[in-house]
């Protein structure tokens, strides 16, 4: 055992002590970095801390974060969830599994305007849980599809967590966004396929269709979806076509979201201030964690722990598959206790050199981490989607987690698929 491994373990234990004692994540990261610098190096910790934090908190690309959060907060306070539900119902009635697909597609669409899976679960679930239960769908499937598909909020751009990963690992956010599209579509397809097969096998779980819809109904329904689809097309389209940087597109997104809320009559002084303050808090929380992680990464670099670990792992001569399998288990375990953003920033400060040594593409790894973190969102005891859905449905967390289990397994399938066929991730960013 060499020195870097020992110091690494000391710092890891200290980190878990701080986190377990309920120290705020950002401050715990700063504290661990500080200890690492003071104990294991001779460098001046204070000035380096100030420089690292300053350097990581005034980035132009990071400015997209509060804008996307704000956009989601405005839409969350609008009539969007009604519109999504009413707009999707006439289209989904004929598929096996019927309105359960409203959850999946609804989450997929909302994920494209919001970067958070908790917001996605809350927005779609607010409408779909009571409506679907009233129509006699099995509660287990309603909660399961919602919990599973809401995690798409993390993967389908704009995604807060991909912005965090991009900043922390110095990857292009626009490229990460593109990389998230096909895996997101893959997950939607897997979820829908599962619901259809299950509906065929257990038809009694799905109630008969009570209302019939004509094509006129469907086109009218499309009108209710229209504004959101325009918003998505405007924001995401401008990033993909390269007209706008993610930050520009995010600001335009806020503008369009404000117009949309004004148009539907949901914008007043109260909702505006509410949304803005909520965005201020959320983005402050995330920016502070990123700042703490920036200092921790720098401190780790000074201690030489990550490169020591990378060499150590390198010497074990693992195949990339074995390394990824080990990391998957490790992330899911971490995700049981930590939120997704903390998992990502901890990863990047320690594991990044290991990934590069193993010859894994950091762009691909970003998507891999996000899907694994998504899985952690629906595993007890800490899974934010579970908390949100608990709040909406009044069922306990374990019940919801059981309902979400098939979707957890589908996500493992997705991880396996992108590992075997990395082109699913890299095709779009390399060809646009």
């Amino acid at each position: 055992m060499d020195m870097s491994l020992v110091s690494g373990i000391v710092l890891l234990v200290f980190m878990f002590l701080l986190l377990g004692a309920g120290v705020w994540v950002a401050l715990a990261l700063l504290g661990v970095g500080l200890l690492g610098m003071v104990v294991f190096t001779d460098s001046p910790a204070g000035p380096l801390m100030a420089t690292a934090v300053w350097g990581s908190s005034n980035l132009w690309s990071l400015a997209s974060l509060p804008m996307f959060i704000w956009m989601g907060d405005i839409l969350f306070r609008s009539r969007l969830s009604d519109d999504m539900f009413e707009g999707l119902v006439p289209w989904m009635g004929r598929l096996p599994g019927r309105l359960l697909h409203v959850n999946i597609i609804g989450c997929g669409i909302f994920a494209a305007v919001s970067g958070s899976s908790a917001a996605t679960a809350a927005t779609i679930g607010k409408m779909s849980i009571p409506e679907l239960k009233r129509r006699g769908y099995s509660e287990r499937m309603v909660l399961g599809t919602l919990a599973g598909s809401a995690t798409l909020g993390l993967l389908i751009p704009p995604s807060i967590i991909l912005i965090v990963y991009g900043i922390a690992t110095d990857q292009s956010i626009a490229r990460l966004f593109m990389a998230g599209v096909l895996p997101g579509a893959l997950l939607v397809a897997l979820f829908m396929g599962y619901v259809m097969i299950r509906a065929k096998l257990r038809p009694h779980e799905i109630p008969e269709l009570t209302d019939t819809f004509t094509w006129t109904d469907r086109w009218n329904a499309l009108k209710r979806l229209g504004p959101v689809i325009c918003l998505i097309a405007g924001v995401i389209g401008s990033i993909y076509s390269g007209i706008a940087s993610p930050t520009d597109a995010a600001a335009v997104g806020v503008f369009l979201a404000l117009c949309l809320a004004k148009y539907t009559g949901d914008l007043n002084r109260e909702t505006f201030v509410d949304g803005l303050l909520s965005a201020t808090r959320t983005s402050c929380m995330i920016a502070f964690i990123l700042a703490g992680a920036a200092f921790l990464t720098m401190a780790m670099g000074f201690t030489g722990i990550p490169s020591g670990l990378a060499t150590w792992i390198g010497q074990m001569d693992l195949s990339p598959y074995a390394l990824l399998a080990a990391l998957t288990v490790f992330f899911i375990l971490m995700g049981c206790f930590l939120d997704g953003i903390s998992v990502v920033v901890l990863t990047t400060s320690v594991i990044q050199p290991m990934i590069l040594t193993a010859g894994i593409d950091p762009l691909w790894f970003g998507i891999f981490v996000v899907i694994v973190v998504e899985m952690a969102q629906i595993t007890p005891p800490v899974g934010f989607n579970l908390f949100v859905i608990q709040g909406l449905s009044n069922r306990d967390i374990l019940h919801i987690a059981r309902a979400a289990l098939p979707f957890f397994l589908l996500m493992i399938t997705a991880v396996a698929l992108i590992t075997i066929f990395p082109q699913i991730v890299t095709y779009l960013p390399n060809n646009m």
Partner: protein, 180 residues
């Protein structure tokens, strides 16, 4: 005193929200300028090259200000993420003890950080460091919010620590889980 502190936390949150709106307006005006430029080019074939000078850099500075001014306000709303899984299973007394320790420990880190931010500000001021964009901004100005915000965070952490010590209800140490 209580009311004064609460006002300071609230006020710094409002300043932070103001900076978010400022980012929005700066970026939006650049986008509109691009759009206008595009239209003019379509009609006259000439580009005016309209730009909001250093807008990317300025948006970054506003972002730093927004993030740091919001620190105490976010803390008071219990919106900074922390792990409460272990805490929730501990007896009441141990919870209080850990809450006090976490507050005072975090206040020390925050004060330490703030101290060195002041030093950074002083240094930038002394050496007259300027930002590298079209409009050179003296760097100490956008660095100042880091020092102020983290100092206020230290104050609010001390405040919460003392409240936890006397077992009074406090939003910052309330056992709740932040938003993911």
């Amino acid at each position: 005193m209580r009311r004064l502190l609460d006002r300071v936390y609230w006020g710094s949150g409002m300043v932070a929200a103001g900076f978010l709106v400022a980012i929005f307006l700066v970026v939006l005006s650049q986008v509109s300028a691009n759009l206008l430029d595009f239209c003019i080019r379509q009609f006259t074939g000439k580009s005016l090259g309209l730009v909001v000078p250093s807008y990317a850099e300025i948006a970054g500075f506003f972002l730093a200000a927004a993030s740091f001014f919001a620190l105490p306000y976010t803390l008071r709303h219990g919106a900074h993420i922390r792990v409460t899984l272990v805490l929730m299973r501990l007896p009441r007394k141990a919870q209080t003890f850990l809450a006090v320790a976490a507050c005072f420990g975090a206040a020390c880190v925050s004060a330490f950080f703030s101290w060195y931010c002041w030093e950074l500000v002083m240094e930038s001021h002394e050496f007259g460091d300027l930002s590298s964009g079209l409009v050179p901004v003296p760097l100490w100005i956008p660095q100042l919010p880091l020092a102020i915000g983290s100092a206020l965070l230290a104050v609010s952490l001390l405040d919460s620590g003392f409240r936890a010590l006397s077992c009074r209800h406090d939003p910052a140490t309330k056992l709740m889980i932040g938003e993911g």
